[in-house]
């Protein structure tokens, strides 16, 4: 893909738009269609597009797989942690109203935002990780074949 200038330029032009749309879907899910799951997939797709055009090596520099694993875990922890926070505040698990006791619906709003953020984080990083796993496997096999050929 090194010589496809049009592809590279169009991808560079599109990537911020895709990421922006992903963020819009993430944080506007309360008012329109969308939410953490869809936004996570969109953001993951942006990274996958980057990987397809610019190669696995540069994509792994942008989003190192080690960091992605921790992000994927922290998404679940944010979700569960919100629930535990509700428990500590004296309410039921995942009863977000306790976050702002004077105004339960505001608490619900914040809780939903936090939870959706956790979902989006997990989904996005897991999608990219799975794609890296599939793509990296083909790459490793090729390298192994190359190594055999040279030796």
């Amino acid at each position: 893909m090194q010589h496809h200038h049009i592809l590279r330029v169009v991808t560079k032009f599109n990537l911020p738009l895709i990421l922006l749309f992903g963020l819009y879907v993430q944080f506007h899910g309360d008012f329109g269609p969308g939410g953490g799951f869809q936004a996570g997939v969109i953001i993951g797709a942006a990274f996958i597009l980057y990987t397809l055009v610019f190669g696995l090596e540069s994509a792994a520099r942008v989003a190192p797989p080690d960091v992605l694993r921790y992000l994927s875990l922290s998404g679940v922890l944010i979700y569960g942690g919100t629930g535990v926070l509700n428990l500590l505040l004296g309410a039921d698990f995942l009863d977000y109203g306790s976050l702002v006791p004077s105004h339960p619906s505001h608490g619900q709003h914040y809780g939903i935002l936090a939870v959706e953020f956790g979902v989006g984080l997990t989904v996005a990083s897991t999608m990219v990780l799975i794609f890296f796993a599939l793509g990296g496997r083909g790459r490793a096999d090729e390298d192994a074949e190359d190594g055999d050929a040279t030796s």
């Binding site: 997939v41 939903i112 956790g118 997990t122 599939l134 096999d141």
Partner: protein, 168 residues
């Protein structure tokens, strides 16, 4: 029609493309049913990500399906019998979209009428998904996380990539 084409074709690349089209058609159907949230998910996940993932898998395997060694008649019979039972089961469900259906009587009126004051956000789907049914969504997130970790354990790319970088 798309599904029949998927079954008939042996070129897996075309099959993957047709899967994408199938998902897009389903998404359009869901939009027509006034379910933009589900349609969004179907378009993004079905037509987008899973197509890319299946293409990546194809790159690792072969492009053409092998001829099956056995006859398809027994599985076909099982599928037809199961399908007939399922269709028989649908004969008893109430008519589509009727307001007195059980699903519209149970918790839905509360969701639709009270979520505006209880949760305070306009999109009822989001309030049901993230608040009323928060446990289910937590489970879904955990499932996705577990799936990703299983793929990593099975394919183990991160370690290989790191080792390769060290080698460089």
């Amino acid at each position: 029609m798309v599904a029949v084409a998927i079954i008939r074709l042996h070129d897996l690349f075309s099959v993957v493309m047709l899967f994408g089209i199938y998902s897009l058609v389903s998404a359009a159907l869901l939009v027509a049913l006034d379910a933009p949230d589900v349609a969004f998910t179907e378009a993004v996940v079905g037509a987008g990500i899973s197509t890319v993932l299946m293409l990546a898998t194809l790159a690792l395997t072969e492009r053409h399906e092998r001829r099956p060694a056995h006859r398809p008649w027994l599985p076909l019979g099982v599928v037809i019998v199961t399908g007939a039972f399922l269709v028989y089961g649908t004969l008893d469900i109430p008519p589509f979209g009727a307001p007195d259906n059980p699903i519209h009587q149970h918790v839905v009126p509360r969701y639709l009428q009270d979520s505006g004051t209880e949760i305070g956000i306009p999109n009822v789907v989001t309030s049901v998904l993230a608040s009323y049914r928060g446990y289910d969504t937590l489970g879904e997130t955990t499932v996705i996380f577990t799936a990703g970790m299983s793929v990593l354990v099975l394919l183990g790319s991160a370690r290989r990539l790191r080792r390769k970088r060290k080698g460089d």
